[in-house]
């Protein structure tokens, strides 16, 4: 177990490092491109003097850059709740208070979609990879070519037109019915939430399942040539055992790390899908913030996205180290 801990510590340090680089980017990019954040804001908006004052104080613009960065770190990392400033659009609401409302919706949407598509994709990729050149394999190759060539949000629009506007199977947008007055977490409420989440989920699942499937298939293309695979077949093992204990167990390792890497891509796409369906997650929050030049909010959204994606990657590392005996016992 010794090395396993070392592996995890290394990955944790790595996650922290990534997080700080992301923070640095969030902090430095506006300052690199424009003269100062306040200027960008002031140029784009009529601001009440109180807000300008507040901003100048918040950014500490009279201090050297590294001090500003340290202040920023202090505010967003070592303060709880993180001090991400105030939204202009919804002043005096703090950015954090808005994020706390939106983030669960996004996590729910992305989490459940990724769970479904990772499962379906891995299975489809497993069967396609074990039966190369057969019907499922071909279907998969072409589907993935098509879905990966389409903008995520356009797929959302198409589903919206077909399933919501024309067939009226699902609501056009939103997360809950305006008329829904049932108490939170009651059965009716949950049904309503699922009903509204269906279209965005379907979109994300359709767009990402082939990605996972193709990764699994190509991983198997290598695995199937491995000696242990040939040996497994020669041993006359049951098909299910060959598929799951040999193909899946070996192929799942690269899949887990790739799912983690792809998580950012999925989240990025989900933001746009949220916009199409007016889903009240961080994507829609971001969209509105962009429209109203609400810079602290925009920064806040990226802050929270950074944490989410890096956190998801770290969790993937944990899973990886658990399922790979080469790391678990060394």
């Amino acid at each position: 177990m010794g090395l396993s801990v070392r592996f995890l510590v290394r990955r944790a340090l790595y996650a922290v490092l990534t997080f700080f680089i992301a923070l640095l980017m969030i902090f430095i990019i506006p300052r690199l491109i424009a003269v100062s954040p306040v200027e960008i804001i002031a140029a784009s908006q009529q601001l009440p003097p109180s807000v300008i004052k507040l901003l100048t104080a918040q950014f500490g613009l009279d201090k050297p850059l590294y001090i500003q960065f340290l202040l920023y770190i202090k505010n967003v990392v070592f303060t709880f709740p993180p001090n991400l400033g105030f939204s202009y659009e919804y002043y005096p609401q703090s950015v954090w208070s808005m994020l706390v409302i939106s983030l669960p919706w996004t996590l729910f949407l992305v989490g459940s979609s990724v769970a479904v598509s990772a499962f379906v994709g891995t299975m489809a990729g497993l069967y396609a990879g074990m039966n190369r050149g057969k019907a499922l394999d071909k279907l998969l190759t072409y589907t993935s070519m098509a879905t990966q060539s389409m903008p995520y949000f356009w797929i959302a629009i198409m589903f919206q037109i077909i399933l919501a506007v024309v067939l009226r199977l699902f609501p056009i947008g939103g997360a809950i019915s305006i008329t829904d007055t049932s108490p939170v977490m009651s059965l009716e409420y949950i049904q309503d939430v699922l009903y509204h989440a269906m279209l965005p989920m379907i979109t994300i699942v359709v767009a990402t399942t082939p990605v996972y499937a193709i990764i699994m298939r190509n991983t198997l293309a290598d695995i199937i040539r491995e000696d242990y695979m040939v040996a497994g077949e020669a041993k006359g093992l049951r098909k299910s055992r060959l598929y799951y204990k040999y193909g899946l167990r070996n192929g799942i390792l690269p899949i887990v790390s790739l799912i983690a890497v792809h998580f950012g891509y999925v989240v990025g796409g989900a933001l746009l899908v949220e916009i199409v369906f007016s889903y009240p997650g961080v994507g829609t929050l971001l969209f509105n913030a962009i429209l109203s030049h609400d810079y602290p909010m925009i920064q806040g959204v990226f802050y929270i996205l950074g944490i989410t994606v890096i956190g998801a990657n770290f969790i993937a590392d944990l899973i990886y180290s658990y399922i790979d005996p080469r790391i678990r016992y060394s």
Binding site: E226, D227, Y228, V230, A231, G232, E233, A234, K235, G236, L237, R238, R241, K245, Y246, R249, N250, L253, I323, D324, P325, R326, Y329, S330
Partner: protein
């Protein structure tokens, strides 16, 4: 006369490739007696592993098999589905070349031995575990190896595990493909001694596939020498090795001696074998053979049987060490 456990008639195995059809094995006849140790010798790529795999019915698409292979009275080429699955390992098992890679890296040794037993004979996990511990004892490994994963074992330990696995179902025939490559000299010794001992105890027939003639001389009763998918000479091991009749066999022996005496291969056999695609219809060794005459370049030599029962495919079979 002893009974024949495996009988191969007119076996050809071909694989399509972009540049033409590769004939990995070409019109091979072999019969292996029950309880014997049979050797197949030849350079890498001569088709010896392919023969091993075809005995298990393991020629994968797009490869195709012609001819008949009978093992224990069963026609291997016609086996399909569940019947074939149960035939594999129960009747013929294999010690794969490079034991290192033939173990599933994400399963423990115990899991890998028990899964074979359970998938073939049913029974509970506990029974299978007991049997697995038993098998490990036979190959002289402590039973705590059962809980280990392949990456935690040494090369020699893995090789023992693989042998334990091969005898797990007491098959009639065990194929050992280069059983000692990638092992150090000491482990090689141990593994060979173990293999011999285990085989004697189980009464299985063994086919040893190797490029190493001294290994085959050590272990085998009979042997076949292969070159480019064909058998060039076959017979009793001591006859063939003490007085090779085919020039290729002699070249192979010479190259082995060089290897032994100086510790490294100085020169083996001059020239390269021709590509196994679109093979010529003459003697395949003619291009590299010091004794080749016109007829060797023109047509394929037929089989001739020598007085000691050996079969040689050569126009100029030579006896003893004459001409040396």
């Amino acid at each position: 006369m002893a009974t024949t456990i495996a009988d191969i008639r007119g076996l050809s195995v071909t694989f399509p490739s972009k540049k033409g059809t590769v004939r990995a094995v070409d019109a091979v006849d072999l019969s292996i007696e029950e309880g014997s140790i049979f050797g197949i010798a030849g350079e890498s790529g001569c088709g010896k592993t392919t023969i091993g795999l075809s005995l298990l019915g393991m020629i994968r698409e797009p490869g195709s098999v012609e001819g008949t292979i009978a093992v224990n009275g069963k026609d291997v080429t016609s086996l399909r589905g569940e019947e074939r699955r149960l035939f594999r390992w129960k009747e013929v098992s294999m010690v794969f070349q490079g034991a290192m890679n033939s173990l599933n890296p994400v399963s423990s040794v115990g899991e890998q031995i028990t899964e074979v037993i359970i998938d073939h004979t049913g029974g509970t996990r506990k029974e299978a575990m007991n049997r697995a511990a038993d098998l490990l004892r036979k190959v002289r490994l402590p039973s705590d190896i059962l809980r280990r994963y392949p990456h935690q074992l040494s090369g020699g330990q893995k090789q023992r595990v693989v042998i334990a696995m091969a005898i797990a179902l007491s098959p009639k025939l065990i194929i050992a493909d280069e059983p000692t490559t990638a092992l150090d000299v000491v482990s090689q010794e141990h593994i060979l001694r173990l293999l011999k001992e285990v085989v004697k105890a189980s009464g299985s027939t063994v086919v040893i596939i190797s490029h190493d003639l001294s290994l085959i001389a050590d272990m085998c009763d009979r042997l076949a020498v292969m070159y480019l998918g064909r058998i060039v000479e076959s017979g009793r091991a001591q006859d063939v090795l003490s007085s090779p009749a085919h020039p290729y066999t002699r070249a192979l022996i010479d190259s082995n001696i060089t290897l032994d005496k100086r510790g490294k291969k100085v020169e083996s056999i001059p020239g390269y074998p021709p590509s196994p695609i679109n093979l010529p219809s003459n003697c395949r060794f003619s291009g590299r053979c010091p004794f080749a005459t016109n007829e060797c370049f023109d047509s394929e030599p037929p089989a001739s049987t020598l007085e000691d029962g050996r079969v040689v495919y050569c126009y100029h079979p030579r006896h003893g060490n004459e001409g040396k």
